[in-house]
Amino acid sequence: MGLLDTRFKVNDRDVIAETLDGEVIIINLNSGCYFSSDGIGGHVWEALGRRQSVGAIVEQLGALFPDSTAAIGEDVPAYVEQLCSEELILEATEPDGAQSGNGAHGAMAMSYARPVLHKYTDFQELLKLDPIHEVHESVGWPVANPSD
């Protein structure tokens, strides 16, 4: 199955996201990276969350922006691949029963602009785990192994 036929879902185990005024803020709790995407990017994220296939999203955007169909056909799959490579979305085997409509909403930009995923890495430090020392074999925590 090609990318256009594929449906995705948010990687709920590791990712939280919230959309505000058309801009989605996505935080990968596993890596500490966070992301933002507005305009078409926010729209694509919402549509993916409704388990619409990539092809369906491309088609809807093409209908909304007929002068940009060629760019949409390239940009949206590339954007989805980036979301995948950052482990923000996972392939979904089944469509979501809750999906409805074409997802086009009034807040979307009036002209097409390539969806961009902005990545921020300034909080990765917060997630670094901290080796302390070996503990005493027979006593256990919190007594340190004397050889440590």
């Binding site: 939280i16 302390i132 256990g140 919190p142």
Partner: protein, 355 residues
């Protein structure tokens, strides 16, 4: 039909063993109970002995409350140095990991567990029963974070079930209402809070507070402590006289309790009129710029969400509602500290006038 093997739940076993250790410590040292109120909810704490209570509960002194028969959350606390009771040695499949002293967050069944390392502590939360066990190796040598903000991990897990959230922000205010100050560690949340307290503001928090967002936004105090880097102490001289750890300042921030400065201005709750992210420090006058809610969420959310480990799905939603409900600003604070409360007082007065 073949019999199905029972599902192994090592964390269940470990949580139970940790709870039994805590009870054993209480049996040795005696039970000391204390009750606290956060956002209208009652937290009951059960300490193994008076000394442990005295070491750990100080930052919560201003939210102490009367005993109730049915608290919303119960935390049982023990340490090894005072009680002689170590943590359970067996910890299921994580034992090897924990033996190496690595921090580990686990979520399994109804339990959440964070082991922060052998020198730090352990938090185990039973989501179903709203009970928790909190362990530190030696209450007389607990980390800076545990001395200033005990139970923060457990509270961060528990409060979202009550439509409340712990956020990584300072909270200060005047009679016109309060502001939340967001920003990275070192952005100036504590020094701005302390300079504002010096200027007559009420104090809610310097780093962590609880918020609820309904029609109105309300912030709740959890800790009356404040922490600043040693090099900033001379800029907040009244606070400098309160520092409780002068011997440890080479390796940790100075910790003080603002109830000792002016108990009447350390408040339990305040209505929030604005949310502000501190972005820079410059010598000139402070600058406040209104920012869009989505931009504010991008700036506020990651420090809060990533500050404390564990499931935080609802926190992002609460922060999004916060950004929609109150005006949001970015603030370049002045290195001339008294300038900052002046600007914040003006902002609060102007927001009150507009309301």
């Amino acid at each position: 039909m073949s019999e199905q093997a029972p599902v192994a739940r090592p964390l269940d076993d470990f949580a139970l063993a940790a709870a039994l250790c805590a009870e054993e410590a209480i049996a040795r040292l005696g039970l000391r109970e204390a009750y606290f109120k956060i956002a209208g909810l009652t937290l009951k704490t059960r300490f193994a002995g008076d000394a442990l209570h005295d070491q750990i509960s100080r930052p919560l002194a201003h939210i102490r409350s009367e005993p109730v028969a049915e608290p919303d959350l119960t935390i049982t606390v023990w340490d090894t140095a005072l009680s002689g009771i170590p943590l359970p040695k067996e910890a299921g499949p994580a034992a090897g990991h924990l033996r190496r002293g690595l921090a580990l967050l686990q979520q399994e069944g109804r339990y959440l567990s964070l082991f922060e390392g052998v020198d730090r502590g352990l938090s185990v939360y039973d989501v179903e029963n709203e009970t928790a066990v909190y362990w530190v190796p030696d209450a007389t040598r607990i980390s800076e974070g545990d001395r200033a903000t005990p139970f923060r991990v457990i509270l961060n897990w528990w409060l979202p079930s009550k439509n409340c959230a712990m956020v990584h922000s300072a909270g200060i205010g005047t009679e016109a209402g309060g502001v939340l100050l967001f920003g990275l560690s070192g952005a100036g949340k504590s020094t701005t809070s302390l300079a504002s307290f010096e200027a007559g503001f009420e104090f809610l928090a310097d780093d962590l507070c609880a918020i609820t967002v309904a029609e109105d936004v309300t912030a709740y105090s959890v800790y009356c402590s404040a922490k600043v880097y040693e090099h900033n102490l001379e800029r907040v001289p009244n606070f400098a006289s309160l520092v409780t750890n002068p011997q440890g300042l080479e390796t940790e921030k100075a910790i003080g309790f603002l109830t000792q400065w002016d108990e009447g201005r350390v408040v339990r709750a305040m209505p929030i009129r604005a949310a502000i992210v501190l972005t820079a420090k410059e010598p000139g006058p402070p600058k406040l710029n209104r920012i869009a809610p989505a931009m504010a969420l991008r700036m506020f959310a990651p420090p809060s969400v990533l500050n404390l480990p564990g499931p935080t799905k609802s926190l992002l939603g609460i922060l999004a509602r916060l950004c929609s409900r109150v005006p949001c600003y970015e603030m370049q604070i002045s290195t001339e500290l008294p300038e900052n409360p002046r600007a914040l007082r003006q902002l609060l007065a102007s927001l009150e006038t507009r309301a």
